[in-house]
Symmetry: D2
Subunit: 368 residues, 4 copies
């Protein structure tokens, strides 16, 4: 029979899902080494296996999104697909965070029944998790390592190479940065977004500063705080109004996103209601949420480790929850997108876009 005909064959749930293979992959060390298996080791294994299944799905989504983004031009059609897939990643991440509650039903005393047998296995050895980090764009030099050892020394040569290949290729961070830099509407005829924004910021600052200083409702101390809240061209707005200031912060590691990409992200945030900017804005939001969910997971993971082993050293030899806590603090990838909020000004102060540009940002179809 031809291949086409196979489409009309039958399939059983059990075989389709590879359940014999899947459900025979739980091998308890305590069953092998002790007279009686430790009841909770099954949970320990299944929780981790569930994590790894979902990591596989996340990698599947991230790789497909990267394929779409590595194109020279990202078609709006692809953008919709990319966002839907990243939103799926976020739904999965929410599940992974909740899953920690299941692990926490194991008490520290129950863990001790088999913990010693796991040495030196540890989450450090999760190849897929490192892959997720690399696909998103965590940089090697920003990784917190323990004992100064390279993060990938726990993997075999082939896996090391595959991890490095992903580092060498375009990460999601870089792909989005490139795509932002290509945003075409920042100059349009006479209109220069950056100039218009600069003017608006100055106008707003001047007006607000005056009103605050003259306010009969505020005492001196309050005025001062209110002015700080408002900020100025030498604080909040400096790094976008002055490229060299941005470059300096890039160099010292405070920022990571290029100047051009930052301006474009600002533009998208401010004019997100224009039809063509709707999806780009949504994309930036999903990236922020992925970042938030990832660090929340790290934070909850750190809590769980603290609860399980206290201040003991982990099976992987790390200082346990301190390491995880630190990664929750610093292993941000898209934090510059969060930072855009610093640069926003109220809609009422926004310069209007020229009509001809608005036309370009709208759909072809016109209602009569």
């Amino acid at each position: 029979m031809s291949d086409e005909s196979k489409k009309y064959a039958t399939v059983h749930y059990n075989n389709y899902l590879g359940l014999d293979q899947l459900l025979s992959a739980q091998k308890l060390k305590s069953a092998e080494l002790d007279a009686e298996p430790a009841h909770d080791e099954m949970l320990f294994i299944i929780v981790h296996q569930a994590y790894e299944l979902w990591f596989k799905q996340i990698i599947h989504e991230l790789e497909s999104v990267l394929d779409l983004f590595r194109k020279k031009r990202v078609h709006p059609r692809s953008l919709g697909t990319a966002i839907a897939r990243l939103e799926r990643v976020i739904e999965i991440q929410k599940l992974l965070i909740n899953q920690i509650r299941i692990m926490e039903t194991m008490t520290p005393l129950d863990f001790l029944d088999f913990r010693n047998y796991l040495f030196p296995a540890s989450g450090f050895q999760s190849y897929q998790f490192r892959m997720v980090e690399n696909l998103l764009g965590l940089e090697n030099e920003h990784r917190i390592t323990y004992n100064g050892r390279p993060y990938d020394e726990v993997f075999d040569q082939k896996k090391k190479e595959k991890l490095q290949d992903v580092v060498d290729a375009t990460s999601l961070f870089e792909a989005v940065e490139d795509w932002l830099e290509r945003t075409p509407f920042l100059k349009f005829g006479d209109f220069e977004f950056l100039e218009a924004y600069r003017d608006a910021v100055n106008r707003m600052l001047e007006k607000e500063q005056k009103a605050i200083k003259e306010s009969g409702y505020l005492n001196e101390q309050e005025k001062e705080i209110r002015l700080q809240m408002l900020g100025g061209t030498d604080t909040y707005f400096q790094s976008v109004l002055d490229k060299s200031s941005h470059q300096k912060r890039l160099q010292n590691g405070e920022l990571r996103l290029s100047y051009e990409a930052t301006i474009a992200a600002l533009f998208i945030n401010l004019y997100r209601d224009e039809p063509i900017l709707h999806l780009p804005f949504k994309l930036l939001v999903t990236l922020i949420e992925i970042d938030e969910a990832l660090t929340t997971w790290r934070y909850r993971h750190a809590q769980m480790v603290m609860r399980m082993i206290g201040n003991k050293i982990g099976t992987g030899g790390s200082s346990g929850h301190a390491y995880l806590r630190k990664t929750a603090e610093t292993h941000h990838i898209f934090k510059d997108l969060h930072g855009i909020s610093t640069l926003l000004i109220p809609r009422s102060e926004l310069p209007d876009l020229p009509e001809a540009l608005k036309e370009q940002l709208d759909f072809n179809f016109k209602h009569q």
Copy 2:
């Protein structure tokens, strides 16, 4: 080297968790049959595999709880363990309910890319799910079947037998019923709980009926409703005050829990604050929550199927969401425990337990 020495060997995360086996079990039909794999088939497979992993864990917990409950006497120590494991089952169920949201990130149109290849695979063919139902105590005669076919015809002989073995053995429902029937405190010296309860109910009804009838605040219609709310020995309290009424309802399938077990469950609910009754009360609550979570999962599952295929027939040949919706209505296992609420009376109306009995229900240790 001896076996003992193996406890001091090393283990790698990847091997410990059987990841090569686990992560090679995703075989997309669309990858086999089409020029290009359907992107979302990976999600479809992984969602179902995650369900099956968790089903394995639930079975692991239920079997261990049954082992504890099949003993002639359930030690309080075991009761604590049983409850902790059932609470873990509830945490897992919450995750399974949330997991439906992940499946819902797949749109109906994306499902159509590979749906046809799955025939006649379906959740009907999940052996582990049937096992969970049987361990809890779903009765064959209460199962909703489709087309009048036995639920187990989709399994091979060995699996059929194992499912039937579990049906033939003591289910959790039966084990709890037995354990309730053995509750020793219902008669203690002169004290007979059922008599004391009957008196209290009558006293309360009389007092309340009088007050309602005489109330100057209520009109006639309101009085009538208020009296219905209160109930009487011929309504809410009938089946517990009159054994033959309970038996009749057992026979016609309205009730399932034996008369003696029902009385004991009532006693535990009313006097749950006595130290020895604390854990038994907690156990009854966990069973109610497992039941609630299971039917909620069925309900959400039905919603998801409706959303995915509308009114189409499922790959397993069933009428899709209608079947699931019906199971959410009727496949309750511990609903008689919910029903205990009908029998409760306010704490202020409760007969005091004799001091000697309270002593028995307390700890040996006495504060001086």
Copy 3:
């Protein structure tokens, strides 16, 4: 000082949020009527107050969305706003569903400490909840009533009128139906969507039927089920290919959405990747999710009532959970949008849109 200057006044958290007012609105009946207040009555009040706060927010969102939709033309800019607000409603609904777990921390016995004082107060008397139902578009004639009494008899004249005003005005269901009916792309030059879809369905049915019948992998029974799954112009596709069939189902209450709106919704589902259809598709998805969340809340609410009072009659005089269970079954508003899934055909079978139409559905701006 001028009004403008007031913008630079100061405000305190406590006053801004009206906390003195808010936090003095918890008046326990048991504190008034008993020697000692019932501890859990506070929870009972606060849970319901939290519900009412969120209902206010949901009404705020729905009204603003209706304002946008009552316009003759819904600008894409408004569509983005409407979707964002409906997605917020969904987030709130998720919270409301989870909130039931908090209520469930009150045991039935604790509820009895004050339940009698609440007569005949009940959720039936929640004006805001009825408002939400009416704004969404629940029809009076589809309401399950108890004892055949009108749902609004528990409200004063002014509230009755406001509820009826909303019924008489355009509901969200009707506004979306109107908007769908105005979808302009279904005929474009020579292209008629319905014709193209009909051809595609027939082509697909013919091809698939042939392949199934000739398959060497399937036995006769399997072929039959497989053909049922596939459906035909006399089953799944009938009501869209044959307008009179749709009309009949409208009349007998099986369907509610007009024929034209249904065709448009189908078009949007099938060609959702075209830029101009992205937001309309998203809108339909949010409506489905609001409906799902609302019925899930009803279902969970029914469970909670069963757990709390068993089979007793509710303080409002209804048969308690049975009523709620029934509304979870039937008080769907957007179920015809779920039903669109029945009409979908695989993307591979979809007729291509004419290039000139695709051009219209795209953005003005063109990449060079």
Copy 4:
């Protein structure tokens, strides 16, 4: 009519819940100061009001638990009640964490429409939140303040005093510490728990160290890490085996829980399966979970603030998310209970309790 008769009066949902009062407490500043109200200010107000309602409930629960714990002896009956109420607090906390997602549906740009009007209102001015912290036992000297100002300077004199009264009274931390210190079973006849534990630790360390050093499976580096994992009397176990070491860590602020209370908590953790210790163990777990949930809420709150205002200064004048982030790190209250995990040893190494003691820890009632 007498007071008793009032129990048979009627009550309406609307009045019972004070809805006129509750639902008129949303006063938008933008409605007062602008031509058009900012749509999202309603959300901002309602989210915060919902928080305050729940804070009131949490305070209600904590105060009632403190009443139970301030007694000279905590009856097991009260312990059950206390735990149930603390578990309710945890359920509420979970809701509060999820509620952040609702706030995050407001975009930074929408916030700017009214943010300026809120100065200098801020969460710093939430009296109830400070009350929660004080009831739990957050110490003034451990509070992170901003600009070195006392945390309570934003409140009026009466509120300041009430906050200080709670600080001066017994907090939950102190009440639990007292209760732990009174644990009566640590010495029983010849049995001294601390001695038995010390012997068990030494026995275990010796056996394990030997086995690790002699293992043929481990290289030198692995042996070293494995020994670190195991710990010794000079590391993990030091502060409990050597009281002066514990005292030193109390003084330098590393620890807060007294030596005696720590030993008792360790005993409860190790022998939690004994009937009388079941509830005490449960209590310790709920305290850990309350702490976890509180810091998770702080962490998520910090993320949300970062997302909303970036690096700007908050309306309260603080450095926004940095402050919150820091409190998530350091405002732990029950972290010494987490730390108990450091002291646990495997069940297989545990010294058996004398039979006479086990008898005391069991119920009076004996099965024949």
